[in-house]
């Protein structure tokens, strides 16, 4: 196991709090006495006109202080992150089954729940749009189609000129975030009339703006704080805003503190999911398996409002290449407006949905040509299988894939290195023989093996989001508060920021506290998202620490009578100069205070060199790419379609890791979460548009038993320092999720082993590939 190579392992900064129950989450903070609770009144129709809504009986119920409807909103009735198309509470129509039409505020949750049942309303049903097909018929789309194009020749000509062509439709399913901590928010108005909100949100600044919008206040009237989240995964990037606005509104109206902690079924009913996608594609390729042209129409199910669907769609379109060079591309992107929850950010943000399409295509090509899929994959890599083809290094949106050089390695295409390493770590060649031998000997159980790559662009597609701030305060006793704009949701951001501050200031982490994220400490922050949390905030923290150190160095230069040329370093709790003088950090801080020099500084960072042309969907949106590869082996039961992951070997590039223990956790966690999405997590809506899988009894995320016990390894790419990123590290949050595509491809390989005929028709496998989907695929081949 590769963890053994790495020492020392620094645990998560809250690890002891986690294991003792001492780490508190939003709904567990010490709240002012008399806090009220809110519960929703849910619509029972996917699309309907609200004929009337009567809350009078509920208002009279035990313990009820308020029942909030759209009419009670003093500001703008909207929580939309991009477009203003998302009423906090509906006025005329309900747009999805389970949408909250009112919220009851009562002394206890039980009273609010009981009173919610007394809210009466009449809905006049309208025709709902519940599928891609219905959206197409009704032409129900948000915004105009997006186009992303490349090629010297017209796409249909390029397709026509290709030796082989395949056309098909591929759909991928939704995924619930299933963070263990459901949405939580509470608010009160303090004695200075500031609305103080504590929320489980990945985007406190946006939550602040939306609370202000709904309450007709300015940002300076609202403070949003985040202690830590019990998981986010994108599900708290925009989805927390509505709940924060509701508690803030109720707090203003009642004059009392008010909380919401969603019940699991409410969380699953009310909040957006990963976007399902449906893609119609036409691919042209040559006899060696090289893709020559791709035309595709990618439609995502955006749901009832826009939310973050435009950038999700853009990222999906910008990741349809995955690690492969596509010379001629014509992509059209559409956002279906359906009567379902408004789908939202989820780890990978459309990237996984795009990458799945090309992996589907590569598998179809390999099958058509009877070539090994891993060879077709490598053959299509940027730069070619060996990285020598310099004319194949630019993405279809015009960004070079080769990164800047470092440590004597000239600007590198990292995928070829990673691929070779994964083949070795996964013992791919020997494994392939063993799988073939097993499949020869067994008719009712078959094994499958696959290796797939991941290339994922790091940075927000929208250039202006790529900025971050920090505020570092050193107290006169040399203890340090670090504030930064990022939020902690388990990804270990605070731990990494702690190391960055400790490393920059040259002091032990025990002298430093990472503070609760608050909009009053760092303003105008971006969401902790796009895997960019430590890249952005790390540079801002470093920058702030360096600003203070610069002042200390100036003082010491005078104090020690050194020349301008003297060089200082902060290390081992000391400030040292190159001429042999040293002073404990503590004394240097005391000196700085005595000399009346500031020991606090803000830090700021904006990622350099980014560009994005929104009109043409071209540019250099990513600071760099995060790459990895995974080998997976599965065994499939031919009677039931049940399967087991026998082995997984992951190789990922996290640069010079800021914290290997945390990065390995991110990689393994991402892989398993991706495997859940692709194989067992199935959200089922009924014919009325009602989500029927709203609890872990019916929505199955992986347990420990789905993860192989012995044959599971994670290797961090060595010698991988990334120039220009905080201490040479790389983002780790989202990309590993897509390593799980290897499991899907291994399942496809196992299914192929059941084939009774010699057809080379592509093997269709539904996504998620549940046992039922797998058995269906097998039966098709056995027929």
């Amino acid at each position: 196991m590769s963890t053994a190579q790495i020492a020392p392992a620094i645990p998560h900064e809250s690890a002891i709090g986690h294991v003792t129950g001492g780490a508190r989450y939003t709904d567990e903070l010490h709240m002012p006495a008399g806090v009220l609770s809110m519960m929703p009144v849910l619509s029972n129709c996917a699309h309907a006109r609200i004929v009337w809504l009567d809350v009078s009986a509920a208002r009279l119920a035990d313990g009820v202080l308020d029942v909030i409807t759209a009419a009670d909103i003093p500001g703008e009735n909207d929580t939309g992150a991009i477009a203003h198309d998302e009423p906090l509470l509906p006025t005329d129509t309900v747009e999805f089954y389970g949408q909250a039409v009112a919220w009851v505020v009562a002394q206890t949750e039980a009273q609010a729940s009981a009173a919610a049942k007394l809210v009466r309303f009449e809905l006049a049903p309208l025709t709902p749009i519940l599928s891609f097909a219905e959206a197409k018929t009704a032409q129900a789309y948000h915004m105009a189609p997006k186009l992303m194009l490349r090629g010297d020749i017209e796409i249909d000509t390029a397709l026509a000129q290709s030796e082989y062509r395949i056309s098909d439709t591929f759909s991928s399913g939704a995924q619930d975030h299933f963070y263990l901590e459901t949405h939580a928010s509470w608010a009160y108005v303090d004695s200075e009339s500031i609305v103080r909100v504590h929320a489980s949100t990945q985007h406190p600044s946006e939550t602040q703006h939306i609370v202000a919008r709904v309450l007709a206040l300015r940002s300076y009237d609202v403070i949003v704080s985040v202690v830590r989240m019990g998981g986010g995964f994108g599900g708290k990037e925009t989805q927390a805003n509505a709940f924060a606005a509701l508690v803030a509104l109720a707090a203003v109206r009642t004059g009392k503190p008010v909380r919401i902690k969603l019940k699991r079924e409410h969380d699953m009913t009310l909040t957006g999911k990963r976007h399902p996608f449906q893609t119609d594609y036409h691919v042209g390729f040559d006899g060696t398996g090289r893709i020559q042209a791709l035309r595709a129409v990618m439609v995502c199910d955006a749901g009832w409002s826009l939310d973050l669907s435009p950038p999700v769609l853009t990222r999906a379109m910008a990741h349809i290449d995955n690690a492969y060079f596509l010379p001629n591309v014509h992509l059209t992107g559409l956002m279906a407006r359906t009567n379902k929850v408004s789908n939202t950010a989820f780890r990978g943000f459309g990237g996984p949905q795009g990458m799945l399409v090309i992996e589907e295509i590569i598998s179809a090509i390999a099958r058509t040509l009877d070539l090994a899929p891993e060879r077709v994959r490598a053959h299509n890599f940027y730069g070619g299988a060996d990285g020598s083809e310099a004319n194949r290094e630019e993405t279809h949106y015009r960004q070079p894939v080769r990164d800047a050089g470092v440590n004597g390695i000239s600007g590198a295409l990292r995928m070829q290195r990673i691929w070779a390493k994964a083949l070795t770590q996964g013992n791919f060649a020997a494994r392939k023989l063993a799988v073939a031998a097993f499949n020869q000997q067994n008719t009712t159980r078959k094994r499958g093996l696959a290796i797939t790559p991941v290339k994922f662009g790091i940075s927000f597609n929208k250039v202006q989001y790529n900025q971050a701030g920090a505020h570092v305060l050193i107290y006169s006793d040399a203890s340090v508060h670090v504030n930064h704009g990022g939020t902690e949701m388990g990804q270990g951001l605070h731990s990494k920021m702690l190391s960055v501050a400790a490393r920059t200031l040259g002091i032990s982490a025990r002298h430093i506290k990472i503070m609760v994220t608050s909009t009053e400490k760092v303003p105008n922050t971006s969401a902790t998202a796009a895997s960019a949390g430590s890249d952005l905030n790390g540079q801002a923290v470093k920058n702030a620490c360096q600003a203070i150190l610069g002042r200390i160095y100036t003082l010491l230069r005078a104090h020690w009578g050194l020349t301008e040329a003297a060089i200082f370093r902060a290390q081992n709790d000391q400030i040292v100069s190159d001429c042999g003088r040293a002073m404990p950090f503590k004394d240097a801080v005391a000196l700085t205070y005595d000399q009346r020099v500031s020991l606090a500084a803000t830090g700021f960072y904006a990622t350099p060199g980014l560009s994005w042309d929104m009109a043409n969907n071209t540019g250099q949106p990513f600071y760099y790419f995060s790459c990895g590869a995974a080998v997976a082996e599965v065994e499939v039961d031919g009677y039931t379609g049940e399967w087991r992951l026998r082995a997984a070997h992951l190789v990922h590039d996290v640069g010079a890791s800021l914290n290997p223990l945390i990065d390995i956790g991110q990689i393994e966690g991402g892989f398993v979460q991706g495997m859940g999405w692709l194989t067992m997590e199935e959200l089922v809506w009924d014919a009325n548009g009602r989500l029927r899988t709203i609890a872990p009894s019916t929505y199955k995320i992986p347990t420990i038993s789905e993860v192989p016990e012995h044959e599971f390894s994670t290797t961090l790419l060595d010698n991988a320092e990334q120039p220009g990123v905080i201490y040479g590290s790389k983002a780790a949050g989202e990309p590993p999720l897509m390593l799980a595509i290897s499991v899907r491809e291994a399942l496809r390989a196992a299914i192929a082993a059941y084939a009774k005929n010699t057809s080379n028709a592509p093997i269709k496998l539904a996504c998620p590939s549940t046992p039922e989907a797998i058995l269906t695929a097998i039966d098709t081949l056995r027929a």
């Binding site: 003792t20 263990l180 388990g490 039931t640 049940e642 067992m680």
Partner: protein, 487 residues
């Protein structure tokens, strides 16, 4: 409904205290959280995520203190009056101020990320660490969902724990009598809404007098209702501590499983590690294989620690996993009321969707299974298919038994299924067709028309009718192939 709080006496983390509840059926989780013990988390309120796991301590027959993991989101607090409870906040206290090995192993190996599921993992591992077997394997945390780690760092912590030396918890005081307490603390919780009779006759008399009351055993099914509303509409009679229901023994050739025996206890007995004076069942590995297999797939440890066979029969859900097993094993139910006792074949027990032959004043006291087969050799196995291999609700469950004579002629056949009809059900026409046939894997083809005609399963969010139909056939084929390979 307001201001009817009740204080439940309980020993929490070694300290005698009271937990204030809004109703006797308020769940332990909600009572703990309301009292400011926020370390125990609600992830689902359904007993499916394990974030709310706590441990109950008890003395084993050697006087050693053992721990049992349970879902606090399902248990009515009043059912635990007098119990010894440990929550995540108490582990350091029990370990003389230091982190318990479970906690330090999780810290060292990065076993927590967001930390919200972590108290549940800590408690499941704590209970395993202080169980008689000290079995620290996947099964003990199968009922704990983690969305962050991918479990591998947790496994690394588990490997360290497995190697760690055994620690003993402080001994618990010996109970005053061998009978469950009928006075003292327990009576605090004996309210009209939740009665805790001390013996079977008392329980039956209560039920006779209040036929609208509901039996409450491990609360792993009814608990879902308490989790949503602390006030339960019907009075409850708790039977989890009735001594008459808590025995597991063999008389002659007959295994008698008390309706109140937890499924974990049944598993321990099957594994040859019986507890509480239960019979050792490891000598009946083949004859009871179908139970052993199905228990492996049945829910997760925290649920098995509370769930009972009586509960499975009481709820009579068509997806109660042990019910097809009872059908296949020709289980006989002993039903008892103040009017006396009667025996009923499991096959005759189910009337319709969650409807049974049980009268309003009756209780399933135990289930009897004949350990002697009808031939010279018994082929038998259970199967369960879900979307997820572990801890899922069945799409289809099946249990097959074939008894062969020395010539491999089938003399007795049982094909029982769950998840395909309103009740657990046998494929009787196929069974009849199999009698007299020489065993061979191709028999599946022969009974195919009967199996196809016999059932008309539904499509739901777990699986389509078409898939269920295929599983009905394929599972029997799979069974025949597996058994054929053994012959």
């Amino acid at each position: 409904m307001t201001n009817t709080t009740i204080d439940i006496p309980i020993t929490l983390n070694g300290r005698a205290t009271h937990l204030r509840c809004s109703a006797p059926t308020q769940t332990l989780l909600h009572a703990l959280n309301a009292a400011g013990h926020t370390g125990t988390k609600e992830g689902c309120g359904d007993g499916d995520c394990g974030a709310c796991t706590v441990a109950l301590l008890h003395r084993d027959c050697d006087g050693i203190t053992r721990a049992l993991a349970v879902n606090s989101c399902l248990i009515p607090t009043a059912q635990l009056a007098g119990a010894q409870l440990v929550t995540v906040e108490g582990l350091q206290t029990l370990n003389h101020g230091s982190l318990h090995p479970t906690q330090s192993a999780l810290v060292t190996h990065g076993g927590s990320q967001c930390g919200y599921c972590t108290p549940g993992f800590v408690m499941s591992l704590f209970a395993a660490f202080h169980s008689a077997e000290k079995a620290i394997d996947d099964a003990v945390v199968e009922g704990n969902l983690c969305r962050c780690t991918g479990y591998t760092n947790i496994r690394r912590a588990m490997a360290e724990l497995l190697a760690a030396p055994v620690l003993h918890l402080a001994p618990l005081p010996e109970p005053a009598t061998s009978e469950p307490a009928t006075s003292g603390p327990a009576t605090f919780a004996d309210t009209p809404l939740l009665r805790r009779p001390g013996n079977l006759l008392e329980a039956l008399a209560l039920k006779h007098a209040t036929p609208e009351a509901q039996w409450l055993a491990g609360a792993t099914d009814l608990g879902l209702e308490f989790s949503r509303a602390a006030q339960h509409p019907k009075p409850l009679i708790a039977i989890d501590a009735l001594p008459e229901l808590n025995t597991l023994h063999i008389t002659g050739n007959c295994l008698e499983i008390g309706a109140g025996v937890s499924l974990s206890r049944l598993q321990w007995a099957l594994r040859g590690k019986p507890q509480n004076g239960d019979v050792d069942l490891s000598g009946h590995r083949n004859g009871l294989r179908t139970i052993t297999t199905m228990l492996h797939w049945f829910a997760a440890t925290q649920v098995r620690n509370r769930a009972t066979l009586g509960g499975n029969l009481g709820t009579a859900s068509p997806i109660g996993d042990l019910l097809p097993v009872l059908l296949a094993l020709d289980g006989v139910l002993v039903l008892q009321s103040v009017r006396g006792e009667r025996l009923l074949a499991a096959a005759d027990y189910f009337l319709g969707y969650r409807q049974t032959q049980l009268s309003s004043d009756e209780l399933v006291r135990c289930v009897r299974i004949n350990l002697t087969g009808h031939g010279t050799r018994r082929l038998n196995e259970s199967y369960k298919v879900g979307k997820r291999g572990s801890d899922d609700i069945s799409i289809v469950a099946a249990c097959f038994v074939l008894d062969l004579d020395p010539e491999n002629r089938i003399v007795h056949a049982r094909l029982a299924y769950g998840g395909i009809a309103a009740v657990p059900i046998r494929a009787m026409s196929a069974e009849a067709q199999l009698i007299g046939q020489i065993f061979r894997p191709e028999l599946g083809q022969m009974v195919r028309p009967m199996l196809e005609a016999a059932f008309n399963p539904l499509t739901d969010f777990r699986g389509s009718a078409e898939y269920r139909k295929r599983l009905i056939l394929n599972l029997f084929d799979k069974f025949l192939a597996e058994m054929g390979a053994q012959l």
